[in-house]
């Protein structure tokens, strides 16, 4: 499924097609399915990410975020469709393709009994670095992660935040143009999270293309220029944060009812004067109106007449979380 917002620039400008040179990642109508699964985990997803973008990938549990990252990092093969990174396909140049992507896995993919320096040396050499180049990149990574004197101590003695920073710095060793981060700030304190965000912004400014998944909508909102939302393996929205919020905020009334009543309520309210559109997702019914505060009494009266009682109500502009709720009908929650 193609993003319903189309492709936009990061500055809320009109949607436009990216030139090949601008497109760092091109995911074209990709379908992927795990063995013995009835439904595809990734269902006809098309996503283009411009060079230097910092894209936040959102989705509830089982939406397919990690699967999409696995496909991008060539850990998994698509059943159909194509993935190109800087115009290159994995099947054409497997080794060169992997050189283009730095993966920061959700798990702390480090050897706990080795020191920070030893971990960097091992993964640097595994990435194909050696000699002066390796030393230079290790110095950069130590500085980037803020390891300093801790670099010579075993990783098992590091704080959670320091491990996360080293996890990120390790992926940067080969200086890949594309960085893929799967929940890189899970379980760390706000200061460390802030430090990682600063690092990522800097990398983005320097031209790295970054894909970032998180369950923290606020950090996506603060950090990312572009956002893509996956739900049940489908890309249901993609665009700049501004465009997404503009579309899903505004003069709206959000009503929360019992899930079994939501669709009936949507039917009742669709004919109300001043109500432009009604959508029901899960227990949430969203009304687009010309003047939410003026229309609210009539809306509540119509529900009362239909013996429907809302259990929650909000009026006015919404944040990304509400936009996400409206799109997916579910809340973002931690992975099991």
């Amino acid at each position: 499924m193609t993003a319903d917002l189309g492709l936009t620039s990061p500055h809320d400008g009109p949607a436009r097609v990216l030139a090949a040179s601008e497109c760092a990642i091109d995911i074209d109508d990709v379908v992927a399915r795990y063995p013995r699964m009835d439904h595809p985990s990734i269902d006809h997803v098309t996503l283009k990410v411009r060079t230097g973008a910092l894209l936040g990938l959102l989705g509830p549990n089982g939406a397919g975020k990690t699967t999409l990252l696995s496909l991008l990092c060539a850990l998994m093969r698509p059943q159909s469709g194509a993935i190109r990174v800087q115009g290159m396909r994995f099947d054409d140049h497997p080794e060169a393709y992997k050189d283009l992507i730095g993966l920061v896995p959700q798990a702390l993919a480090l050897y706990p009994r080795l020191t920070g320096t030893e971990n960097l040396a091992v993964f640097g050499q595994m990435s194909g670095l050696s000699g002066r180049q390796l030393r230079a990149r290790m110095d950069f990574a130590i500085d980037f992660a803020g390891l300093n004197e801790m670099a010579q101590r075993r990783v098992e003695t590091y704080s959670g935040g320091l491990r996360r920073r080293l996890n990120l710095a390790t992926a940067l060793l080969p200086d890949p143009p594309v960085l893929v981060l799967d929940e890189p700030t899970v379980g760390i304190d706000p200061q460390s999270r802030h430090a990682i965000h600063e690092n990522l912004r800097q990398l983005s400014v320097e031209g790295k293309t970054i894909i970032y998944t998180s369950h923290y909508l606020d950090e996506i909102e603060q950090l990312c220029d572009d956002i893509a939302i996956l739900d049940r393996g489908r890309l249901i929205a993609q665009g700049s944060l501004g465009a997404l919020l503009a579309r899903f905020t505004g003069n709206r009334i959000d009503l929360r009812l019992e899930p079994q009543d939501a669709h009936r309520a949507a039917g009742v309210l669709s004919g109300e004067p001043g109500v432009q559109s009604v959508t029901a997702a899960g227990s949430l019914v969203t009304l687009a109106t010309d003047d939410p505060h003026r229309r609210l009494p009539a809306v509540l009266a119509a529900l009362e007449a239909a013996q429907l009682r809302p259990v929650g109500l909000s009026v006015g502009p919404r944040d990304l979380e509400q936009a996400f709720l409206s799109l997916t009908g579910t809340e973002l929650r931690d992975e099991p």
Partner: protein, 402 residues
């Protein structure tokens, strides 16, 4: 060049991780050393080349004839034997005395019976030896029995000569003397292969068990890499599976060789200080290196095979340990094959550990060289190669895009 750097990185991380886990490394090396020390000393008398004084002998007479009583009398006069007679005479008694020899309660069991079941036929003396006795002790036992039979023959001959009046008449000089008894040495007795000393059995046996036990830490290290997400990161890097496998094989190969060297050194130099026999390692160091390397490859191949099949540390520790112990039990590591019943001895050859043990003992006990260990070496290499091949295929599939 890139592959070389990657291989160096794989070796470095495995070596460092092993070195940092000092406790595990010590267990790996110390475990067989401690076992060899304990078992070699504990089983020293069972395997001893020293002739026990006096040797215990149980005699079962199924003939009730003069020969048997005279034969028993001669044996009793021998100071190096302590002869007891089995009171019962039936088939059950025969099984009982045979078991007494097999299990080492007596050095020898002797059954006197008739060749053709008739009183006139010559006696048949069946000798059962404790299979754990050294070959020369068994030879001594056989020799003493032969002497006793010959002694009785001479007495009979003299008696006949007297009866014939030394005249050479009918039944005199020209009569061929039929021996009063025929000696039958039971299978596994004198004609068996030379038996090892306690340390010749225990040193290679426990070193082999420890080598194969490496399946456990090897599997656990791979599972930890999966769980820690390191394998995922490595999959995303342009590093081939063979580099990662070599990074595991080489350090563990070295550990196994160190472990074996420690055990052999201990058997040779430490055990005598504690009153044990020094390990006689034969005269073929080249053959020793070859059989050690082949056993090592088989052990690491098995370890990697287990590592690619199990998914949790619990599976690795339980399946790895139990399967190795079973192989050890079958292969004559925990219980020497020579004391096993014949059926079990035939079964022992299915265990790779028995091939390794046989290879070591060919050098240590039978004094053979490279030619003597070739069959065992090839078996171990083929087993190791098959295991490594399957493990490599599975590991490669795990690293490939799914």
């Amino acid at each position: 060049m890139r592959r070389l750097h990657q291989l160096r990185a794989a070796l470095t991380k495995e070596t460092l991780a092993l070195r940092r886990d000092v406790e595990a490394l010590l267990i790996l090396i110390a475990m067989p050393a401690v076992f060899v020390l304990i078992m070699s000393l504990a089983l020293q008398d069972t395997f001893a080349h020293k002739i026990p004084e006096p040797m215990r002998v149980v005699l079962l007479d199924q003939t009730h004839g003069a020969f048997a009583s005279q034969f028993a009398g001669i044996l009793r006069k021998n100071a190096s034997l302590r002869v007891s007679q089995e009171a019962a005479t039936g088939a059950v008694a025969r099984v009982r005395v045979r078991e007494a020899a097999r299990t080492g309660r007596v050095a020898f069991a002797i059954v006197v019976t008739r060749s053709r079941g008739t009183q006139s036929s010559p006696a048949r003396v069946i000798l059962y030896a404790n299979p754990a006795l050294p070959a020369q002790v068994r030879a001594l036992g056989v020799s003493l029995v032969r002497q006793a039979i010959a002694h009785l023959d001479v007495i009979r001959l003299v008696s006949r000569l007297r009866q014939a009046g030394l005249s050479g008449g009918p039944g005199g000089w020209n009569q061929r003397l039929q021996s009063s008894a025929r000696l039958v040495v039971a299978k596994g007795g004198l004609n068996g292969a030379p038996t090892p000393t306690s340390v010749q059995q225990n040193a290679p046996a426990w070193a082999l068990l420890a080598m194969f036990f490496l399946a456990v830490p090897l599997s656990v290290s791979l599972i930890k890499e999966r769980q820690q997400g390191v394998l995922l990161r490595l999959r995303a890097l342009p590093v081939p599976s063979w580099v990662l496998l070599a990074g595991k094989i080489i350090p563990y190969f070295v550990i196994n060789m160190i472990q074996l060297s420690v055990v052999l050194f201990e058997g040779r130099y430490v055990l005598p200080l504690l009153g044990g026999d020094a390990l006689d390692m034969g005269h073929a160091p080249g053959a020793l290196v070859l059989i050690a390397a082949a056993a090592n490859i088989a052990a690491i191949g098995y370890g990697l095979l287990v590592a690619t099949f199990v998914r949790t540390q619990e599976q690795a520790t339980s399946f790895g340990a139990v399967s190795v112990l079973i192989m050890g039990a079958i292969g004559g590591i925990l219980v020497p094959t020579m004391v096993m019943p014949a059926t079990m001895q035939r079964f022992a050859v299915v265990s790779p550990m028995s091939w390794g043990l046989d290879g070591f003992q060919a050098i240590f006990v039978r004094g053979e060289g490279v030619t003597g260990i070739l069959p065992d070496m090839w078996r171990l290499l083929v087993f190791g190669a098959v295991c490594l091949l399957v493990a490599a295929m599975r590991f490669r599939r795990e690293l490939r895009p799914q």
